[in-house]
């Protein structure tokens, strides 16, 4: 595919990194209002891109505006939620941890409820059906279909509740019926301290595969009846284990974990697809061109050499990339460097290659004009050069500038051998005659042309000019 030619390894990292960031945002903010609003913003952005694609100018502008405003609002409105998510987690949890849901399970609620009932000596009869249908076995009862909770169970078995003497049937996470009458066991060898609840529990366990929990009103003791057997419950751990075995809860947990893993995998895949889509929308239109003129920087020059001439000081770069990236390119982000490490005195010809040019990510070089640069280097030498004042303007009428004296009248200059070879006089900056009405002294700066010339250390950079002004003879 032709566009794959433009994908570099940096682009792959780019996509994967941003996909992971998006995935982590999902993991951290899922099931919060922030995530829902973020999803809304993402949808708005997708609509905006579609509107741009179809050339819907007003729609795209409106979408863009709403997206920008909503993005600002989300930070202000949901700042507390964002802060709680980020503060509650350490760096490891933010970067790669997976928060586990801490919603209490049905078993935990039943265990807690039974403990509370036992502690208060409130008699209770709780039926947990298995595979067999119980409708033919029990009688009466009131359908409830209420979500299970500790408070709900406790209140059902409260002494003043009209249905407190009956049993409750729990199906999945709901209390299906209350005040149910169970068949009694006719066993004659039951312990004497067992009451009607125990007999009812045993009766149901004899005829079905259900598990029945009994809380004794007199003693507060808890027993579990299943498969014609009654088991005393001494510890929470054993009670939990019995309930788990009955409900096959290990399998449920595995299913839950598998569901979570599936959800995460889907989220990860969507993140990769989403970011890849954004990346391609940025990279779309790689034929977009821009031409920039970038100055050439010369590096690794031998300190005793001097650049006396270069065929160009700047090169024109024809750059390609997506429209969005090209628009954001600033000339300061681009560098053209020529290594003069192997250059010699005289003419040197350098080709400007891809290695000479530093470009921002996602921007590609199409063409360089010129592709070859000629650089002339010269050896740096010192030379003593006479000075001369560059007078300008007009002396006041009737006066003659008859003589001058300069201190110094020569100066030592450092520069390229070729340049200095052609220079026999160094001039001052322009000195105006208009105000010279009488003999005096002035200080003048030197005009170092070309700028590559430098005054040698120890030499003065200003010239003191003593001048003599005389009246013009009649």
């Amino acid at each position: 595919m032709p566009f794959l030619e433009f994908i570099r390894w940096q682009d792959v990292i780019d996509i994967l990194l941003n996909s992971y960031i998006l995935f982590r945002l999902y993991v951290l903010f899922r099931e919060t209002y922030v995530f829902r609003v973020l999803t809304g913003i993402a949808l708005l952005w997708i609509f905006q891109r579609i509107a741009v694609f179809f050339g819907l100018i007003l729609t795209s502008w409106v979408m863009q505006g709403i997206t920008a405003v909503v993005a600002l609002i989300i930070i202000i409105v949901f700042r507390n939620e964002i802060r709680s998510v980020l503060q509650a987690k350490n760096l490891r949890a933010i970067l790669w941890g997976f928060p586990q849901k801490s919603v209490p399970t049905t078993i935990q609620i039943i265990v807690e409820s039974v403990k509370a009932l036992s502690k208060r000596h409130i008699g209770a009869l709780i039926v947990l059906p298995s595979k067999e249908n119980l409708e033919d076995v029990f009688r009466g009862g009131i359908p409830l279909r209420g979500l299970i909770s500790k408070e709900m169970i406790t209140s059902i078995f409260w002494g003043d509740n009209p249905v407190h003497d009956g049993a409750i049937i729990i199906e999945e996470d709901r209390i299906a019926r209350v005040g149910v009458i169970l068949p009694l066991s006719y066993k004659s060898d039951l312990p004497s301290h067992y009451g009607t609840r125990h007999r009812a529990a045993l009766g149901l366990s004899e005829s079905t595969d259900a598990l029945v929990i009994v809380v004794s009103e007199e003693t507060g003791k808890v027993v579990v009846a299943k498969d014609t057997k009654i088991t005393d419950i001494d510890s929470t751990a054993i009670f939990t284990k019995i309930l788990q075995e009955h409900m096959g809860i290990h399998e449920e947990e595995n299913v839950y974990q598998q569901k979570e893993k599936f959800k995460m995998s889907i989220a990860a895949i969507i993140s990769v697809f989403f970011i890849t889509g954004i990346w391609f929308s940025f990279s779309k239109g790689l034929d977009t061109l821009i031409t920039l003129e970038i100055p050439v920087e010369y590096t690794n020059r031998n300190s005793s050499f001097e650049i006396v001439d270069a065929s160009v000081n700047a090169v024109r770069l024809h750059l390609g990339g997506s429209g969005a990236l090209i628009k954001s390119v600033q000339p300061e982000q681009i560098q053209v460097k020529l290594d003069l490490g192997n250059a010699v005195i005289g003419r040197n010809i350098f080709s400007i290659t891809q290695d000479s040019i530093t470009l921002p990510p996602g921007i590609f070089l199409r063409k360089v004009i010129p592709s070859v640069i000629e650089v002339t280097l010269d050896e740096t030498i010192k030379k003593e050069i006479p000075l001369q004042v560059d007078w300008v303007g007009e002396l006041p009428e009737g006066l003659i500038l008859s003589e001058i004296e300069m201190d110094p009248d020569k100066i030592e200059i450092i520069g390229g051998k070729r340049i200095l070879g052609n220079i026999s006089t160094l001039y001052t900056e322009k000195v105006h005659l208009d105000n010279l009405k009488r003999t005096g002294t002035i200080l003048a700066n030197l005009a170092l042309t070309p700028a590559a010339l430098k005054i040698a250390p120890g030499s003065k950079d200003k010239v003191r000019i003593v001048y003599v002004v005389k009246p013009r003879p009649n």
Binding site: Q388, D390, V392, E394, I400, S402, S424, T425, Y467
Partner: protein, 147 residues
Amino acid sequence: MDIKLRFIIVLFVMLCADLFSSHWSFSQNIQNSKSSTTQKKLVMDLGVMCEEIKDFTPQNPAVTFSIKIGKVSCFTSFDPVPEKTFIYHKWFHRDDPSTKKRLTLQPPRWGTYSSIQLRETDKGPWRVEISDQKGNLLRILRFSITD
């Protein structure tokens, strides 16, 4: 040869040279041959830039000249002049050669000068390099043409 006759001849030569160039030169024996001819070394005893030459004397020597005066001269005199020789006046506007004058010197003493006509483009620093016939630099005179 009579002094006046020699002066007329020199003046004629000078005018002929002026027909071929805007620059012209003039030389004159400023004194009869009293000086000794035994000295062998050419010595330049005066070199000035001036507005004009009058009575074989440089007038208003200076280091800046207004372009309004239209002409500037470089006057040099030599004492002694051991033998007939010539010197050069090389005029430079900044570092660009402008003109080069070959001026003859006659023993025992001789004064001579060269001039240039000034144009608007001549403003700026100038120098005149005076050298002998072997090219040895005798002196550099520096001046400026201003408004």
